[in-house]
Every structure is written in structure tokens, then in C-alpha cells.
């Protein structure tokens, strides 16, 4: 595992950064928020990302993708993080798209992957049950056997980019108790199926999120994604990939917030000098610099570890090494993104508290990232378990 970008990756990172700077400035998120835009992102920008091929990065070439891996995905999400870009890359491509790619039947892949890659249709993952804390093995929604199919009932919340999605990958229990590892199944359910009700959620980061309720929704054999009752393992693997993608976003976000803060420290004058000349602020800035450097390493390592595991679960040892790297990255980035954005606001002083200034937007998104897919404490626990203590 080499922790350095190869020339093709360096080129991709540069293209993504240039695109983000032009098409995805923070003002755009602000405008979407002020307009109370229900979709929460810009369809033309999403199409442009698809035209550049980025929506195809992690998909197999015979599904129309580029056959690349997480090492490339994190370059895209890092550039998204810099501009707080709300495009549904993580939800549609990495998370739900990743599950269809890993588990889908010929028919499911044909129906959903090409439209995901060309940006014409959008998938989302309905995993989180209302009233629970994040834990993939906890599942309250149920699909009860009914003739040849099932009847799905459940109340999902915090569904990422869940509003106006075209279909949902739904996590539901088909057997066993609430916390059992066996008995969790995945279904691919079109949004217009009778009994599916979607409500936009308005969150602190102004991004698209939704409650998705399933009221006795009829499911057929064709709606099952993967093997009956064996959904948890692939679900965890998809969430791991999405977690690393999110770490990439957090890295971009914290780098941008930090750079803006350093710029402010150099220009803001008090007591007749730049406030960046004060040692009390210099040392705190230097500590953040070190934290960000560590984050760069752990994100690269986690992405590469997942790529080395390969498909179909991988061998158990490599898999648990990758889990340790993923949890290490998420815990580190969660702590660092909160540190850096809290400090950014403090160092900006009063203007940092104003809505007019962008720093608050970074802090709000940072909090959502921190608490998505488990916070630092969750991942320290998971790291310890993966390392056998």
C-alpha cells in the first residue's frame, strides 16, 4: 500500500478541485438554502459530474463504470467537501449504487446502474429506523412473508438525499430479533410504489434528507436485493465505503475551513498587529495543522485498505484490518473536523457567529458528518473490537 497519489490520481484530484472551485462554491449552497430548495442540490451540476465520468468511478466496467476504487472516490468527495457541495454522490453512487452493484440481479443492475451512472435516476439507502442510534445491526423495520413476497413496514429517518429519490434500497428484518446479525434483508423499492411516503427533513446543514415511511408495502421476489436474511454483511461493507467517502468530504471541509482561518489570522488586525502574530493562536493553529496532516494519511490508508480487500467480502483477516483502518479514519476525521471548525469560528470572533459569514456553514456540515455512520466513540469501540480487544 503506497500512500501517495499516482499521476492519474493526481490529475483526477486537480480536475475535481478545479471543477469544485468553478461550479460548487459555498455561495451556491447558501443560495439553495435561502431558496428553501426541496431538492437541495443543482441538477445541472450533478449532470456535469456524470458527464465527467465521476458517477461511474466505483462501478465495474461491464456495468458501464470506470472500474476504479475508493482511492479515487475520496478525491472526488474531498473536492466536494471544500465547497460544501450538496450533490448526492455519497448516497447515490457509493452507498445505494454500491449495494446494487455488489448484490443486484442482472435485471436490477440493468435497470438502475446505467441511470445512476448517467445521472438520470437516483438511488438512496433507507437504513436508519426512527428512534434508533446508528448501528447497522439494529433494525426495527420488517418485511413479513406474504405468499410469494413480503409486506414491508417501517419508519426510516435521516435518509441521506432521500427526498425525490427514484428508488430506495431498504433495510428490513425478515427473521430474528432486533439486534441479530442474521435475518436482515435488503430490498430495492421504487419510490412510486403504493404505501411509500416521503417527507423532506430540514437539517442544520441545509442538505437533502428525508423521512421515508413504508406502510404495508407489497414486495415481490424481484424486489429482493441479494440473499434473503444475509443483508447485514454487504450493508456493513457498503457503509464502510460510504464512511471513507464521507471522511474524504470531511478532509476537504476541514482543509478549506482551516485555510480560510489562517488567511483571516494574517489579515485581521487588533492592537495594531495581525492577530496571527499572537502565540496563543499560533500554537492552536499549528496543532490543527498536525491533526489535518494525520487525517490526510488515515483517509488515504482507509481507502486503499478497502480497495485491497476486493469484492465478495474478502478474506476475514484483510477485512478486519480494513475495518480497523476505516474506523480509525472516521474517528480521527470526526474529532478533527469538530476541532477545526470550532476553532475556525472562535478565531473569526464575532463575525464567525454571523450568518453572513461562511464559517458557520462549515461548522454545521461538520456536525452532520461527525454524527453520520457513527461518531468517534462508536468507531473507537469498533476499532478495538476489530483489533481483538
Amino acid at each position: 500500500m503506497k500512500l501517495v497519489l499516482d499521476p492519474a490520481q493526481a490529475m483526477l484530484a486537480k480536475t475535481a478541485a478545479d471543477f469544485a472551485a468553478k461550479q460548487q462554491p459555498v455561495e451556491r449552497l447558501r443560495a439553495l438554502r435561502d431558496a428553501r430548495d426541496e431538492l437541495g442540490y443543482t441538477p445541472s451540476v450533478w449532470s456535469a459530474m456524470a458527464d465527467l465520468g465521476w458517477t461511474g468511478i466505483p462501478f465495474r466496467e461491464d456495468d458501464g463504470g470506470l472500474g476504479m476504487g475508493m482511492a479515487e472516490v475520496v478525491l472526488i468527495t474531498e473536492s466536494l467537501g471544500r465547497g460544501l457541495a450538496p450533490e448526492p454522490y455519497l448516497s447515490a453512487v457509493v452507498l445505494a449504487g454500491g449495494l446494487v452493484s455488489a448484490l443486484g440481479s442482472e435485471a436490477q443492475r440493468a435497470a438502475w446502474l446505467a441511470p445512476t451512472i448517467d445521472g438520470s435516476k437516483r438511488l438512496a439507502l433507507a437504513q436508519h429506523d426512527e428512534g434508533t442510534r446508528f448501528d447497522p445491526a439494529t433494525c426495527l423495520s420488517s418485511a413479513v412473508s406474504d405468499g410469494d413476497g413480503w409486506r414491508l413496514s417501517g419508519r426510516k429517518a435521516h435518509v441521506i438525499d432521500g427526498f425525490a429519490a427514484d428508488a430506495y434500497v431498504v433495510v428490513a428484518r425478515t427473521s430474528g430479533e432486533q439486534h441479530d446479525r442474521d435475518g436482515i434483508s435488503l430490498f430495492l423499492v421504487p419510490a412510486d410504489r403504493a404505501g411509500v411516503e416521503v417527507t423532506r427533513q430540514w437539517r442544520v446543514d441545509s442538505r437533502n434528507a428525508a423521512q421515508v415511511h413504508f406502510a404495508d408495502v407489497a414486495l415481490s421476489r424481484d424486489d429482493l436485493l441479494g440473499e434473503l436474511g444475509e443483508g447485514l454483511q454487504p450493508l456493513e461493507e457498503a457503509i464502510d465505503r460510504a464512511t471513507v467517502a464521507l471522511c474524504g468530504e470531511m478532509l476537504g471541509l476541514m482543509r478549506e475551513a482551516f485555510e480560510r482561518t489562517i488567511e483571516y489570522l494574517k489579515t485581521r488586525q487588533q492592537f495594531g498587529v495581525a492577530i496571527g502574530s499572537f502565540q496563543a493562536l499560533q500554537h492552536r493553529a499549528a496543532e490543527q495543522f498536525v491533526e489535518i496532516e494525520l487525517c490526510k494519511s488515515v483517509v488515504m490508508a482507509a481507502a486503499r485498505s478497502l480497495d485491497e480487500v476486493g469484492g465478495e467480502g474478502g478474506e476475514p483477516e484483510r477485512r478486519s484490518r480494513a475495518v480497523a483502518q476505516v474506523s480509525n479514519a472516521k474517528a480521527r476525521c470526526s474529532d478533527a473536523v469538530i476541532l477545526v471548525t470550532n476553532e475556525a469560528l472562535q478565531m473569526h470572533g464575532g463575525v464567525g457567529m454571523t450568518d453572513e459569514y461562511d464559517i458557520g456553514l462549515f461548522m454545521k456540515r461538520a456536525r452532520v458528518c461527525e454524527l453520520t455512520f457513527g461518531d468517534a466513540a462508536f468507531h473507537r469501540d469498533r476499532f478495538a473490537a476489530a483489533r481483538g480487544f
Binding site: 500512500l3 499549528a286 496532516e293 494519511s297 480509525n328 469501540d381 478495538a384
Partner: protein, 393 residues
């Protein structure tokens, strides 16, 4: 087979044939690593032979040029060599400030004559070096140093005192900073010079630390003479050389975070495990996880830096970051080990404590110096904020 794998095969065969049995498995035993010198000390008699064989291959300084006694290896080949040594749990052939500090500095700033004179004696373990930087009144403000060197014909005559000269009582030569001009800015007028400690004007007194005995010394200079040809770089331009060497020192101290015991295993031993195999105390378990994750993140950052250099990127002022984080990490870890061992970590000597526990007490106390020696943590943060972040003042 790739060229690198051919090399690995060659190394493996050579080690099988040449590595003394007595040293295998002693990789983490500090006593098994010789420091060389005119009067070398060996805890294991086999170490003398091991040093000679390793030096013969140039593998005491694998990446240095062959003409100076090095191995002429690339970083990648060096990594293979280290992996193969680790596979047999072998200690390196030699350690010391010659290899880690003055050697790299001579490669960068020495004249051809100086390199030919000193480098082979370093790689061969013939001369042991120590560092004369700090003075009683010049710690973090190193550039204020006052030890004076006055030109007298072809020689400099040196008077003054150095402190924290690690291993000075066992060293043969000292590389030191002296003041040759007090008229200008304090950074100007400093000269970097090499001095043979055989001179009768050199006096060394060991210092006792809070952890008990220590390698640190005070070193006094009374009319000590060194030839002008022993100056590295230009007279008066020693600060440039000194900073480069500090970079090597910081990399070395930061790199010392390599753990001597596994924290999870230690915690399991002292605290037990629950039915799921978790460390039984949930709070300490989280602290252990945090420490292990910090260590992993640090190690990945060291690797990223090395990979980036190997790919041809320019080095930056990273050494301050490694020094700062590596030492702080090590100190947190030592403190966590006290928490894990509880009252058993408080012994000074005598009955009621295992040998490991007594070592623990001393190691914790010794570790408190990590954030002071080689430039304090605060100085590292100053360097990052000014040289990396470009903050004013």
C-alpha cells in the same frame, strides 16, 4: 522476479549465513544494539562480530554512498533490508548520533575531505559521537549560545560549557556550536565545528535525572583546540548547518514512538477481559483504543511522508510535526501504562514489583523529557506556525 525481490532473496540468504544466533529475537532489546567507539561496550559478545559484518556490507548506513562506507541502497531497498532484519527479529548492527545526526549533516554540508575522514569511521562504528548544542543559559533560545571559539593560527581555541550532551562520557568526538563573532545578529557568528574529546581541556560530568541515572552530561571546555579544517560549512554560518541537523534529530526523536510493549496485551494482563474478549474496564479500553489509533495514524503519516519523498516530492518542514506528535504520543502512552498498572507502576526499587514494573516507572519519568529535548513542543509549534503556516511575527 522483480529486482527488489531478488534483493530480498539475497538479503535473506546473507542474514541466514551471517546473523549470530545469540542476537536473533533481540530486536527490542536496547542492550543488543552497539554504539561503537574507541572503547566499545557490548552486552552480547556476538555484537562485535555482527557490527563488523553489517558494516562490511555497508548496511549500518544502508542509504549512504558506498565510497563512504554506506550501502548505496535506495529507500525501497533499505525498507526490504529492515523487513528482513525484522523477520529474524535482529537488532541493527549499530546505532548512535554519528549515523542519525552528524553523518547525514556531513553528507549535506561536509567537504569531500571531511566526508572521507569521518563517514567511514561512523559506518564502521570506530568513532562514537555526541552533540554539543544546549548551554545552561541557551535552551530554547539556542542561538544565544556563548561558548567561544577564538582563532589562533590554523586552530580555534574553545572555552565554555555545554549541557544535555547525551553520552558525552562515552563519546570520542563532539559536533558543537560555538560563537566566533558576537558583533552582529545572534544567529550570525555561530560556527559548527567538530572536536576530538581526547583533548585534556574537555571535562565531562554526568547528570542525574528524576528517573535516576541518565545518559545526559555537562561538558566543559577549557582552551580546547580544534583545527580550522574541522569547521562544517563556513565559519559564522553554523546556524544553517545546525538547523539542518536539528531536522535529523527531530526525525529521530519523533521516530522513537515504536512501542516496546503491546498496550492491548498489557491492559488485558492487568485488567482482564470480559466474555466477548474486550478489555474489562470500558474506560481504559477506550483510552487504549485512542492511543493505538493515534499511533497508527502517526505511523501512516510517517509512511506517507516517506512514500511522497520516494515519489520525488520535495521535503518540507515536516520534521517539526513528527517531533511534536511522536513525542507527545509517546508521553501519553507512558502515562496510560501507569493507569493500566495502577499502584504497581509506582515502585522505585526493591521487592513487591516486577522488573518490568520498575522499568515502567523509570521509562515514564524519562519520557517527560521527550517534549523538551531536541527543541520543546512549544518550539516545534512555533516552527510550524511560522515556517509552514506563514503566520507573522
Amino acid at each position: 522476479m522483480s529486482e527488489l525481490e531478488t534483493f530480498r532473496e539475497e538479503v535473506r540468504q546473507w542474514l541466514e549465513a551471517n546473523a549470530p544466533q545469540a542476537l536473533r529475537g533481540r530486536r527490542n532489546d536496547p542492550a543488543a544494539v552497539p554504539w561503537g567507539g574507541r572503547n566499545p561496550r557490548y552486552a552480547y559478545p556476538e555484537s562485535a562480530d555482527w557490527l563488523e559484518r553489517m558494516a562490511g556490507r555497508g548496511w549500518t548506513a544502508p542509504t549512504w554512498p558506498k565510497e563512504y562506507g554506506g550501502g548505496g541502497l535506495s529507500r525501497e531497498h533499505e525498507r526490504v533490508l529492515h523487513q528482513e532484519l525484522a523477520r529474524l527479529e535482529l537488532p541493527p548492527g549499530l546505532t548512535g548520533f554519528g549515523l542519525s545526526m552528524i553523518g547525514p549533516t556531513l553528507l549535506q554540508y561536509g567537504t569531500e575531505e571531511q566526508k572521507r575522514e569521518h563517514l567511514p569511521k561512523i559506518t564502521g562504528g570506530k568513532i562514537r559521537w555526541c552533540q554539543g548544542y544546549s548551554e545552561p543559559d541557551s535552551g530554547s533560545d539556542l542561538a544565544s549560545l556563548q561558548t567561544a571559539a577564538v582563532r589562533d593560527g590554523d586552530e580555534f581555541v574553545i572555552n565554555g560549557q555545554k549541557i544535555w550532551t547525551s553520552g558525552a562520557d562515552l563519546a570520542d568526538w563532539i559536533f558543537m556550536l560555538v560563537r566566533t563573532d558576537s558583533s552582529g545578529k545572534k544567529q550570525a557568528g555561530i560556527t559548527f565545528i567538530l572536536v576530538d574529546m581526547d583533548d585534556p581541556g574537555v571535562e565531562v560530568r554526568p547528570i542525574r535525572l528524576i528517573s535516576g541515572a541518565s545518559p545526559f552530561c555537562e561538558t566543559f571546555f577549557r582552551d580546547v583546540r580544534a583545527p580550522v579544517g574541522n569547521v562544517i560549512g563556513e565559519p559564522g554560518d553554523g546556524w544553517t548547518v545546525a538547523k539542518a541537523l536539528l531536522g535529523h534529530e527531530r526525525s529521530m526523536i519523533g521516530g522513537m514512538a515504536a512501542p516496546r510493549v503491546s498496550l492491548p496485551e498489557l491492559a488485558a494482563e492487568y485488567l482482564g477481559r470480559d466474555e466477548q474478549g474486550r478489555i474489562a474496564d470500558p474506560v481504559l479500553r477506550h483510552r487504549v483504543a485512542q492511543s493505538e489509533m493515534d499511533a497508527l495514524s502517526f505511523q501512516l503519516t510517517v509512511q506517507r511522508n516517506a512514500d511522497s519523498l520516494a515519489a520525488g516530492h520535495q521535503p518540507g518542514p515536516e520534521s517539526s510535526m513528527f517531533k511534536y506528535y511522536g513525542t507527545e504520543l509517546n508521553m501519553r502512552r507512558e502515562q496510560l501504562m501507569l493507569s493500566i498498572r495502577d499502584q504497581q507502576a509506582l515502585g522505585w526499587e526493591g521487592d513487591g514489583y516486577s522488573e518490568e514494573e520498575l522499568l515502567q516507572t523509570r521509562a515514564w519519568l524519562r519520557s517527560r523529557a521527550n517534549s523538551i529535548e531536541g527543541g520543546t513542543s512549544e518550539i516545534q509549534l512555533n516552527i510550524i506556525s511560522k515556517r509552514v503556516l506563514g503566520l507573522p511575527g
